[in-house]
């Protein structure tokens, strides 16, 4: 073959490879991935290297203690989804549900899992604490114990409500969908108000009033939507409900309001994170990775062993990572210390009984053994004027609290309750870096367990 022809072929192949690299998920990319699967045989050649060093495990008492703390945290989180107001709890039944999917293309729809023994139906109301969130839109026929919930933030969502005015009177209105605040600096979420019964409404708490019969309250009646606000700009009157629920950080744990006879006594978890049958053993092809500055691994098993993309990896109940690509006989995983690894977090604070939903934690890598996660604190008030120095928080002045952090709900492949470690939170609004000390150095592991996401939910024993 002539040198010129060989060079042309080489450039052509390089162009195809560049296209496949820069446009992931295309047929070319998938074909190249599968074409090199036989190279996995070479990983077996290198297995003797993985025998260097033993398997790190937690001592049984330490593991039991971690599981106990994690379960307690999840139970408290489940209890926090029930109404605190006794009037809202009376005469109603509550079915617990946990978010397992919140598609980016449809942020107003969440997929939940619940105890399949409970009877749900489309149209049932969904709440969290004293807050109204939305309705059950549909049940997933092929997956018992799964349903789609349409949040009140959805464009088409509407619910009858009433505002309690300062003079004690009540005014009906309709709430649903998101309203844009005239001040772009105000990033809080506002629900749109439709058909207010009076033109002079200004402020007051807004609660659901879906029942038309004043003597017969509906199941959702009385649950909070938020606070009515008004704003005048350019002669226009802006009326909206400032949402009382933080839709950025949730919902993860919620309840479906039902007639009392439909709710079941017992645990609140649809998926028990530590049940052995929910985990499948697997192993890494090597201890470590040749990929520079990455904390990621290749696994020796793939689709042929039932592994699925997005499934969590754990060891002794400690979160190890997540599968990012699954091939026929191998898979790739990013570990918790890999920069960019993101997970929903849930924390038990030392000074507060109710768990704190942290929302999304994004890994920034490690500092020694400690994991560094970027976290946006949206729940605490900001520090006093002058204390908050750009761009983050004045750590020296801010109050701190120790916290036990586990994974939260929000992913089908990653159950809540997997342990991340302990840290110290700064209790002030704004971005901060969490320095989490994990109970186990997952980088030294050779054998791990992978979550079986496709098993149907089962009630907690």
């Amino acid at each position: 073959m002539s040198s010129s022809r060989s060079r042309t072929i080489q450039l052509g192949v390089l162009a195809v490879l560049l296209y496949a690299t820069l446009r992931p998920g295309t047929a070319v990319d998938r074909w190249i991935e599968e074409a090199l699967v036989p190279a996995r045989v070479l990983a077996e050649l290198a297995r003797p290297v993985t025998w260097l060093g033993g398997q790190t495990v937690l001592a049984a008492p330490e593991r039991q203690e971690l599981w106990r703390r994690s379960r307690e945290l999840l139970e408290r989180e489940g209890a926090a989804a029930l109404p605190r107001d006794g009037n809202l709890a009376a005469g109603r039944g509550f079915v617990h549900g946990q978010t397992i999917e919140r598609p980016a293309r449809d942020p107003d729809g969440v997929v939940i899992q619940y105890d399949p023994r409970c009877t749900l139906a489309p149209g049932m109301y969904v709440t969290s604490g004293d807050h109204y969130l939305g309705r059950v839109e549909s049940l997933v026929p092929e997956r018992p114990g799964e349903a789609v919930v349409r949040l009140i933030t959805g464009r088409e969502a509407r619910i009858g409500a009433e505002v309690l005015l300062a003079d004690g009177s009540r005014a009906p209105l309709v709430v649903g969908g998101v309203a844009l605040h005239p001040d772009p600096r105000d990033t809080r979420l506002y629900l749109a108000v439709h058909a207010p019964s009076r033109g002079d409404l200004t402020a007051g708490p807004v609660r659901v009033r879906a029942s038309l019969d004043p003597g017969q309250p509906g199941l959702a009646d009385g649950f909070l939507l938020g606070e009515l606000v008004h704003h005048e700009q350019g002669g226009l009157r802006f009326l909206a409900v400032r949402a009382g629920f933080d839709y950025d950080a949730g919902p993860y744990e919620l309840v479906i309001v039902s007639a009392p006879e439909h709710a079941l006594a017992g645990g609140s978890l649809a998926r028990e994170p530590f049940a052995p049958e929910r985990w499948r053993p697997t192993r890494f092809a090597a201890r470590g990775t040749p990929s520079a500055l990455r904390e990621a691994r290749v696994l020796s098993h793939g689709r042929s062993r039932g592994l699925e993309r997005g499934a969590a990896l754990a060891s002794d109940g400690v979160l190890v990572g997540r599968l990012t690509r699954v091939l026929q006989w191998s898979a790739r995983a990013e570990l918790v210390g890999d920069p960019g690894f993101a997970v929903a977090g849930l924390a038990q604070l030392e000074d507060q009984e109710e768990p704190l939903v942290l929302g999304r934690l994004v890994s920034l890598g490690r500092d020694g053994e400690a994991l560094l996660f970027r976290w946006e604190n949206t729940q605490d008030p900001p520090l006093a004027a002058g204390a908050a120095g750009a761009p983050g928080i004045d750590l020296a002045r801010a109050p701190r609290v120790r916290a036990f952090v586990v994974s939260g709900w929000g992913e089908r492949g990653l159950p809540a309750g997997l342990v991340l470690g302990t840290t110290e939170l700064v209790r002030a609004r704004g971005p901060q870096v969490l320095r989490i000390t994990p109970p186990l150095d997952v980088r030294a592991l050779e054998r791990v367990e992978v979550w079986r996401a496709n098993l149907p939910p089962e009630p907690t024993p």
Binding site: L17, A46, G288, G337
Partner: protein, 171 residues
């Protein structure tokens, strides 16, 4: 191809896999000052290889790397296919077996390969919110120690048992 050379390529793939696995094992606790043993071995052989044999070297490198590395196979193959011809072209001007040149160009080879994988990861949106510039800076120590390893052990790497049929006799 003679059976002897086929066997030599298989042996090279095995050496490369072990070097890559050893590199992975040494770096399991995450140190930025670890030479890329596999790429130093590839460079050492590349400096002494017949140009016509380059496709075999590329194939062995991609396979060994794909077995243990977490990057997409297309990105690995593109990195190898882009850089190996460049090294061959440089070899036409500089004597890459000479200590100074092999140190310099091995460092650049490792830096170029790792930087390409970093670019690919960011373009594919797999790096989350991590800083590209910070990560790029973090690759420099790896390139430096790889260059030093090439200076000290380049000829040794190229003389590993079983690789004799792949080396030019005149180096």
């Amino acid at each position: 191809m003679k059976a002897q050379r086929v066997l030599a390529w298989i042996v090279f793939a095995a050496w490369l896999t072990w070097a890559t696995a050893l590199h992975a094992w040494l770096g399991q606790h995450g140190t930025g000052w670890l030479p890329d043993l596999g790429l130093v071995l590839v460079f050492s052989l590349l400096a002494r290889l017949e140009a016509a044999d380059a496709p075999w070297l590329m194939l062995a490198t991609v396979c060994a790397r794909a077995a243990l590395a977490v990057e997409g196979h297309a990105a690995l193959a593109a990195g190898v296919l882009g850089l190996v011809p460049l090294v061959l072209w440089v070899r036409g001007t500089f004597e890459l077996t000479a200590p100074a040149w092999r140190t310099l160009f091995c460092g650049l080879f490792v830096l170029g390969f790792d930087a390409w994988l970093l670019v690919a990861r960011h373009v594919r949106g797999e790096a989350g919110e991590s800083s590209f510039a910070g990560a790029l800076l973090g690759l420099v120590p790896i390139a430096l120690v790889s260059a030093l390893l090439s200076l000290c052990c380049g000829p040794l790497f190229a003389s590993l048992p079983g690789l004799t049929p792949l080396r030019r006799r005149t180096w």
